[in-house]
Amino acid sequence: MKIAVMSCIHGNYEALNAVLSDIDAQNADKIYCLGDLVGYGPHPNAVVEMIRSLDIPTCQGCWDEDIVEGLNACECSYPSVLAEKRGRLAHEWTNQVIHPETRSFLANLPFSLREDNLCFVHGSPHNQHEYLMPGMDAFVAMERVMAAGADILFCGHTHIPYVRTLDSGQLHIKVQMAQPNGQSQIVTDRAVTTPLKRIVNAGSVGEPRHGRPNATYVMYDTNCDRITLREVEYNYQKTCADIIEKGLPAIFAWRLARGLEFAERADDPTHICER
């Protein structure tokens, strides 16, 4: 079975259309979406309507949650004061234009999705706002995959696609307790062998951050266990024109055309989201 996984569309209808056409051309049997359907881009309602009409299984992203629950960001959400101000602007605009049925759809999205040994989340199994960075500590990364109870954890949120293989490793746990006589006694001594796990980040359909405006997603072939990162060209100029026409900040169009993320990013792989 060929499974297409996409994430972080961010109201970019042109990019979504192009990716769906590419998925069709790849003969995918199933599509999963990892959320962030709205935010920054000019067509949040159209994107949600497309996802809904195609009945694509979708989990809730951090922007989807924020539109429903309101902004309540942890410090990892924005890398700078400028990014935070731009993010708030985008949030307020999206909050104003979004239709009630769109908001209702976003509110009812599940936090995660499962398919056999595969798990699909937006950020991490713990939180939509947490970034699983490609360079994060292997122990923490392994914990996140095992917390999901999966062999492959599909995520988005960072907007940069990657595949990280966590080779089988040995974890030796030893717990010592202090005794009244001042000596210590080993009360637990356990070795755990972890199986091979993978984290697959689908990148971003509508807000890439890889230096080019092209949309990205991943294709996973369960028969041959092959993961393919796909990069799709689309008419980003149309999205840029729509950003300006809708009254969103012109800098969003400038950044989109250069494959620079609008605002959010996390540079600290050791940061644990506290939201």
């Binding site: 890398p79 700078s80 004061v81 400028l82 990014a83 101000k85 731009r86 012109a250 800098i251 400038w254 950044r255 250069r258």
Partner: protein
């Protein structure tokens, strides 16, 4: 050797007028500096007076008094902004007593493509100093610059390599087209009392120097950061990026800094309202400034050596 106590320095934006003056002043026991065209926006004067302690910056209205009391042993460098018409200058000093330096971007320099030829060009340029009429192309000769000495602003191997142009200009005309009729715009933004978030400044500077707010020819600015540093950022179109310079000023950790900071950009189709808005969005609120400054002061009090090394490690590029 004839002594020239007053040197007029002209050149296109970004050609290296201030850097050349810095190099000259560094060789002197003392020097004075006046920037005509900067008005009350002293980016270059702040840079020079902090990095070259023997140099004193003077204002336009101090010039006459300076010339009267000067014993002529203190060299005075007068920098002319590219938008200043030299023919319009009215100075309280006879023009023939001034040395007139026109800094030009040499075609040889722009077209150098490999390290070997660069070294050869460099040695030529270091010694090149000729009358402007001999250096300028036939069609570029201009009476306006008669009597000016053309110099290519290359002074040291480090400077040469660090500032190697990444693209050759179409012609050398840019280097000498200094007429007031130029279509280049100058936009200035005062930031005195403002403290910027470092990551925001990094984002803004990238956008600015990559054309998000208009076609940029030149940008320079002094920015105050929350750790008390004042950074000088420089950009010249066609040149490799220059690392930010922390000015040799005391760290300001007691409220909004009461010293000059600001941004000057030169280019075309500049969107000044968006530049100002973005700069405003980069600034920290007073409460945030007070909070972070208190933390830094406490950290310095607890471990001055550690806090200093941490602060020095932070850069904006």
């Amino acid at each position: 050797m004839q002594s020239f106590p007053v040197t007029l320095v002209a050149g296109a934006p970004g050609v290296g007028k201030t850097t050349w003056i810095y190099q000259q002043a560094s060789l002197a026991q003392s020097a004075a500096y006046l920037n005509l065209g900067a008005e009350n926006f002293p980016i270059d004067a702040t840079y020079l007076s902090t990095e070259c302690p023997q140099l004193t910056a003077i204002a336009v209205d101090e010039l006459s008094e300076f010339l009267q009391r000067s014993d002529q042993s203190i060299p005075l460098f007068i920098e002319l902004g590219f938008h200043i018409d030299p023919a319009s200058l009215e100075l309280p000093i006879a023009p023939e007593t001034c040395r007139k330096i026109l800094l030009v971007q040499s075609p040889q320099f722009s077209q150098s493509t490999d390290v070997e030829s660069r070294s050869e060009s460099q040695s030529q340029l270091l010694t090149s100093s000729t009358k402007s009429s001999e250096l300028l192309h036939q069609d570029q000769q201009n009476d306006e610059w008669t009597g000016w000495t053309c110099i290519s602003p290359v002074a040291s191997p480090e400077d040469f390599l660090d500032n190697l142009p990444t693209k050759a200009y179409e012609s050398s005309r840019l280097s000498i087209d200094l007429t007031p009729e130029t279509t280049l715009q100058i936009r200035r933004s005062y930031l005195q009392g403002k403290v910027l978030d470092g990551n925001s400044l990094e984002t803004f500077w990238h956008e600015l120097t990559h054309g998000a707010y208009g076609e940029l020819q030149r940008a320079k600015g002094i920015f105050e950061l929350v750790d008390g540093r004042a950074l000088l950022l420089n950009y010249r179109a066609g040149y490799a990026a220059v690392e930010p310079l922390e000015l040799s000023l005391p760290r300001w950790l007691d409220g909004p800094p009461d010293r000059f900071s600001g941004l000057e950009v030169v280019g075309t189709q500049l969107d000044q309202p968006r530049i100002v808005q973005t700069l405003t969005d980069c600034c920290l609120e007073d409460a945030a400034i007070a909070y972070y400054q208190a933390q830094i002061r406490a950290s310095q009090a607890a471990s001055p050596e550690v806090s200093q090394s941490v602060s020095q490690g932070a850069t904006v590029s």
